[in-house]
């Protein structure tokens, strides 16, 4: 009788397990319960490891942490947990179950976000250009266009490279500003130092936790959708899988862009857009082509690729383009760039050369968020945002401090706000 009573209490001593959409995942290099102490104060609540011992799973569960066992091939991981929990597939971009209805879809393929170095170690910079930022944001935007599934990107830090705290923060933010989650993965050096509880490593871990916390405290951001007046119609099995493709090129201009998978090209998908770029080329069926013609007839500006244009696809399992394809895409990009010009297609940002941004809007358009990630190792002072929406209240939200009301002023074509400083991340909430 007493045993039944104790068993009856077991669920009560277990902390509540979050729903899959709220799982904050990390590849966990340890299998001892002591390692779970690292989760104190951290939003990480989903640990991925091979062959997790039962006592580890139980100890994690007592903390409200889900443990998923990693199985399968390195590029086709299958994550399984206790009965009742969904099985998650982290696979190649090409094999992702887009639009499947799975609560979580993910991939192991990603670029390591950050300012791209040149061979000589200097940044890709000259009098002629700004820095190029390696990012997964374009790909993640394309995936998010398929529906509400939570998206995980589970790429590993590059090997034989010193990964600074800033680079970890950038990896987290690169996914999070699009509403996705980077599956935390520690390089072996950091993992070893964390295991010894070295102060500097603990500092890195805590900063990662604080940044995750910042995003996790705003679940509403993940439900907002890409806004702005520029739509990109593309074949998700081709250009949508790319990093360094047209979506990332547009991102460097800080022009808000909505990817529209060609399969989902409807008049509704283009609502609110004033410009559309058809990257899908001749692969569109007659109905889809008619949607674009209707868009143009309705006053929208439509840019099609040249005759015979095909959305460049990465070779084999690659996620970036080889030089010839990149050059071909570059020709298309010049046309897109010329069409966009300096127009404000929702938001324009200034002094953000080392940053990427995302502009999302709540259903009904009563509020919107502009997210910023700074990929340089230095804070950036004096960022300016110009936006079109009739949202005359603005609030700055940063991982570093309390929310701050911003002065909103009228500009030539809408509203403007100035942001004093952006360290790693900032969000500007715009409201009626």
């Amino acid at each position: 009788m007493w045993l039944a009573a104790v068993l009856g209490l077991i669920p009560l001593v277990h902390a509540e397990i979050a729903k899959p959409a709220a799982w904050v995942p990390a590849r966990w290099p340890w299998a001892d319960a002591r390692s779970l102490d690292l989760l104190d104060g951290s939003p990480v609540n989903c640990l991925l490891l091979k062959s997790p011992p039962a006592e580890f799973v139980a100890a994690a569960k007592a903390r409200g942490v889900v443990v998923l066992a990693i199985g399968g091939d390195p590029d086709d991981l299958v994550l399984t947990g206790e009965p009742g929990l969904p099985t998650i597939h982290l696979t190649t971009r090409r094999k992702m179950a887009l639009g499947s209805g799975d609560p979580i879809i993910g991939t192991t393929q990603g670029v390591w976000p950050g300012i791209a170095p040149e061979e000589a170690g200097a940044h890709k910079a000259g009098p002629t250009s700004s820095v190029w930022i390696d990012t997964n944001t374009g790909f993640l935007r394309a995936v998010r266009a398929w529906g509400p599934a939570t998206v995980w990107i589970a790429n590993m830090p590059p090997e034989k490279t010193v990964i600074t705290t800033a680079r970890y923060l950038q990896a987290i933010a690169d996914a999070a500003i699009i509403g996705a989650r980077w599956v935390i993965a520690l390089d072996s050096d950091l993992a070893a130092r964390l295991d010894r509880r070295e102060e500097a490593a603990m500092g890195t871990w805590k900063r990662m936790g604080a940044l995750l916390d910042y995003f996790e405290h705003h679940p509403e951001w993940r439900t907002m959708r890409e806004a702005g007046q520029l739509a990109i119609v593309q074949d998700p099995a081709k250009g949508g899988l790319l990093s360094g493709g047209i979506l990332d090129m547009i991102a460097t201009k800080h022009t808000p862009v909505r990817p529209v998978p060609s399969e989902r090209l409807t008049p509704e998908a283009l609502a609110g857009a004033t410009m559309a770029v058809n990257i899908a080329g001749d692969s569109l069926n007659p109905e889809q082509k008619e949607v674009l013609r209707g868009f143009a007839r309705g006053g929208g500006t439509l840019l099609n690729g040249p005759p015979g244009w095909k959305d460049p696809a990465p070779a084999g399992g690659a996620i970036t383009l080889e030089k010839p394809e990149l050059e071909r895409l570059g020709d298309m990009w010049r046309d897109v760039n010329g069409m966009i010009g300096r127009r404000n297609l929702g938001v324009r940002l200034f002094n953000v050369a080392s940053m990427l941004s995302n502009y999302v809007s709540a259903p009904g358009g009563k509020s919107a968020i502009v997210q910023l990630v700074n990929y340089s190792d230095y804070p950036v002072d004096n960022v300016t945002l110009h936006y079109l929406a009739e949202l005359p209240r603005a609030t700055l939200i940063t991982p570093e401090g309390a929310e701050k009301k911003l002065e909103v002023y009228k500009t030539e074509d809408g509203w403007g706000v100035d942001i004093d400083r952006v360290s790693t991340c900032a969000a500007i909430r715009l409201e009626q």
Partner: protein, 373 residues
Amino acid sequence: MTRREWLALLSTAPLLKAAPDAPVAPVSIAKCASYDEDVTAKLAAMFDQLGGLDKLVRNKTVTVKLNMTGGPGVRLRGMPPAMTHYVHPKVIGATAYLMGKAGATRIRFVESAWATAGPLEDVMLDSGWNVRTLASAAPGVEFENTNGLGKGKKYSRFKFPGKAYMYPEYVLNHAYEDTDVFVSLAKLKEHADCGVTLSLKNCFGIIPASIYGDDAGVNDPNEKPTKGRSDVVHFGKRQPAKIAPPELYPGVGSKTGGYRVSRAVADLSVVRPIHLAIIDGVESMAGGEGPWIRGVRPVKPGVLLAGLNPVSTDAVATAVMGYNPRAERGTPPFRNNADNTLLLAEAHGVGAADLSRIEVRGVSIANALYRFA
């Protein structure tokens, strides 16, 4: 070497023969350790030392050429461009305020921004500047990107009165003609091609890429330039759009920036005279004009300079940088093929680069000395 020894060496070094008739004007130097100091008060004192701004700008339209070389996204160690290779907005704002106070009716800030003919305000915002603050620094503040037609309806023609080095006529944005006073607001910097870039070299940027750019039309200007001017002016690979006359001596001289840009700059100082030179040397960079030059580093010379003759002002500034302003090609800072722009302009009769003839007011060169090398 001590400051005294350096100055003594300057006075005894074998120098190019000075043009005895070239005009000179006093140059004012002020120490200014950071942009957090009262830049306005320091500039006001300097202008007073030069005889006051009133008589120069009262009831006048003033055009101020800023130095904003390179794209605003290209940065040295992530620093704001104004801390390294652009003039600082505090110096710009202070200049506008003082000019407004002195009675200027219109103050037009201009630059041919890198690879764009879009609004200059956009480039300023991309540089992290508060354009609203600058615009409110004085009544009548305007901004214009002079990389193309800009706000003008036609280009202005500046014919060289005599024998030019490079082009017999320069075709420029209207702002350089529609003005009573022309000011060069430069940064205290070295230059990879030309040795130094000060108030004279700053005005290389008045040449529009629409006509002299790499993607300028063969016949007509390209009002949407996306490139620099190296093919036409630096390396002589092509001629400007036919709206402007071709260079006078194609095939003569080396096809390097050190030869050609220096000469174009000297020509420009004749066709578009500079009435006031202001040099921002509070914080800068050494080793070149922008972050794209290998080996550049941030420096804090902590000085401001101003003068009514650009050659004299640049001569004093070059000395403050620890260099002989009369040094010849091959001697630092005029390395490699760099011809000394100051001497080329002096030979045109624009001004004298002879320190012995230039009165320095405020802080002495010796006390302002900050060695760039």
